[in-house]
């Protein structure tokens, strides 16, 4: 393949050159363990402190409220399991949504098996939770609300400020999985009244295997990885200095470029959506039309299945993803697409294209041109399409008979 068009930036992003450059000295030159006493450890310590400030600044937090973790999944697990444990004496009820990432959903499922009660809020056709439903779900024994800031599949952004307000008024800690939102949309933990926030380096041109959990001062939460006294005794493990440095740099850059990056992506993304909806029949856009991540487009094409679409696109050098069952390793299509009310067969035919700020208009035009052919080819092979066309013909005939 001489040319690759990478449209799977919600899955992971390329480490930017600036981030990589910042990280490199911490592999061979300043490889010290920053917990050590000798002077050689000083530079590592300073670098970690700087990264912590950078990570905090992006969400208006204090540096001492940032804890580095092994990624978004660990942050979600930690926030939910440890809060559940810490507040167990008050109650065992947790509220979350049906469209959370599995890092949240499976964690909640695990807690359910251990005596906790979890309410999974429905979402509307655009993927938003209902604030009324959230209020109604609150109980005296509710100890945590965990609702994601932005969805990884359909890009829908939740009304985080309103959720934070409701949680605050009810005196319930509010955790948000901001893995897709951190560095992509403005977030301020005080204004939004967020108590805990998960983010992951590799979604904002930083390295993989490094994340943060923001924990507001005063929120009771136990440590999750036990061992050494790193991260003020709350998260053991020798600090991943290059990863932390990379995370900090990525956060700093994201803070400076977020607006322009968003504008750029939105322009090209909107062009993509416009063309796909206009030129490919029996297609719908999934997710909210305006309250959505600037780089996300998610479509459902009727009568076809996602994996075959991905393979054909792959052969053209196009990297994309789908919510079909075959790509998830289970028989059910994406829980997010089902939660917004798509029938199974339509959920199977979904395609997620997530851009970067380097995605060009030419690339997107090439993708649409090829996508049209791919869809047509698969539809011509589809028994569902065959049935549909026959039905249409029948209807036409009936219509004529009536006339």
């Amino acid at each position: 393949m001489d040319k690759r068009i990478y449209l799977d930036n919600a899955a992971t992003t390329q480490v930017s050159e600036a981030v990589l450059e910042e990280m490199l000295p911490y592999f061979r030159q300043n490889y010290s363990n920053p917990s050590a006493v000798y002077q050689f450890a000083e530079e590592g310590k300073r670098a970690v402190d700087r990264a912590r400030r950078q990570a905090a600044k992006l969400i208006g937090a204090k540096p001492e409220e940032i804890y580095f973790t092994g990624g978004g999944s660990e942050s979600d697990n930690w926030a939910i399991k440890a809060a559940a444990e810490a507040y167990a004496s008050k109650g065992k009820h947790i509220i979350t949504s049906k469209i959370e990432h599995h890092a949240v959903l499976h964690t909640c499922g695990y807690l359910e098996k251990n005596g906790y009660d979890v309410t999974y809020l429905d979402v509307d056709a655009d993927g938003k939770i209902s604030l009324e439903e959230l209020k109604a779900a609150l109980r005296p024994d509710t100890i945590l609300i965990s609702v994601m800031a932005a969805n990884n599949e359909i890009g829908t952004i939740q009304p985080i400020a309103e959720i934070g307000k409701i949680a605050h008024e009810a005196g319930v800690p509010f955790h948000t999985d901001a893995v897709q939102a951190y560095g992509h949309i403005p977030l301020d933990v005080d204004r939004l009244q967020i108590d805990m926030l998960s983010a992951s380096g590799h979604k904002l041109n930083g390295p993989k295997g490094i994340g943060i959990l923001y924990i507001r001062k005063g929120v009771k939460i136990r440590s999750f990885i036990h061992g050494g006294a790193q991260e003020r005794g709350r998260r053991a493990g020798t600090l991943n200095v290059p990863g932390i440095v990379g995370f900090g740099k990525a956060a700093q850059i994201a803070g400076e470029t977020m607006e322009e990056k968003g504008r750029k992506e939105r322009k090209i993304r909107d062009h993509l959506i416009e063309r796909v909806l206009a030129e490919i029949p029996y297609t719908r856009l999934n997710g909210h039309s305006t309250d959505r991540l600037s780089n996300n487009a998610n479509f459902s094409f009727r009568f076809i299945e996602g994996e075959s679409m991905l393979i054909l696109l792959d052969q053209l050098g196009i990297c994309a993803s789908s919510g079909s069952a075959c790509t998830s390793g289970s028989l059910d299509p994406s829980h997010v697409l089902l939660a917004i009310g798509l029938p199974h067969e339509i959920a199977h035919g979904s395609l997620r294209l997530t851009l970067s700020d380097e995605t060009t208009l030419e690339e997107v035009d090439f993708v649409v041109d090829e996508l049209k052919k791919v869809i047509e080819r698969l539809r011509n092979m589809s028994p569902l399409y065959e049935d549909f066309l026959k039905e249409q013909k029948e209807k036409e005939k009936e219509g004529k008979d009536v006339q």
Partner: protein, 145 residues
């Protein structure tokens, strides 16, 4: 993930299409699980499969197994076609990833369903052919950790 043969049959599927007034047609699978296969058979007076066509909604393996299954039954007698098992389809494709084995079962089932339809239409009994199950719903247990 897929063998070269699977990719070949996915990229260049043999016998895609429909047959007008087929001797038998069978549709199996369901859209819920993401696989539907339909196979059309044209069978002559001697019970030989003269032509076969398919349409499939499904993943790469579903398309490739349908394509291979049609190749394996073409020109065969009804009895011989009955012996084309999912294993034979898989072997002819140089194997399938474990999660895709059900696609080959679906292909076998689609052939059987089309043969069943042919037998019903002609009032004949094909030795060893059972009424097809419309829905192959494997209940694969999810592993819990």
């Amino acid at each position: 993930m897929y063998s070269e043969k699977v990719m070949d049959h996915f990229n260049n599927p043999r016998n895609v299409g429909e047959i007008e007034n087929p001797s038998g047609v069978g549709t199996v699978g369901n859209a819920k699980c993401g696989d539907i296969m339909r196979i059309y058979l044209d069978i002559d007076g001697q019970g030989i499969i003269r032509d076969v066509k398919f349409k499939t909604f499904g993943c790469g393996a579903a398309v490739a197994t349908s394509s291979m299954a049609t190749e394996l039954v073409k020109g065969k007698t009804v009895e011989e076609a009955l012996l084309v098992t999912n294993k034979a389809v898989m072997e002819a494709l140089d194997g399938l990833p474990p999660v895709k084995v059900h696609c080959s079962l679906l292909a076998e089932e689609a052939i059987h369903a089309a043969l069943w339809d042919y037998a019903q239409k002609n009032g004949i009994v094909i030795e060893g052919l059972k009424k097809p199950v419309e829905d192959i719903g494997e209940m694969e247990e999810e592993e819990e950790y």
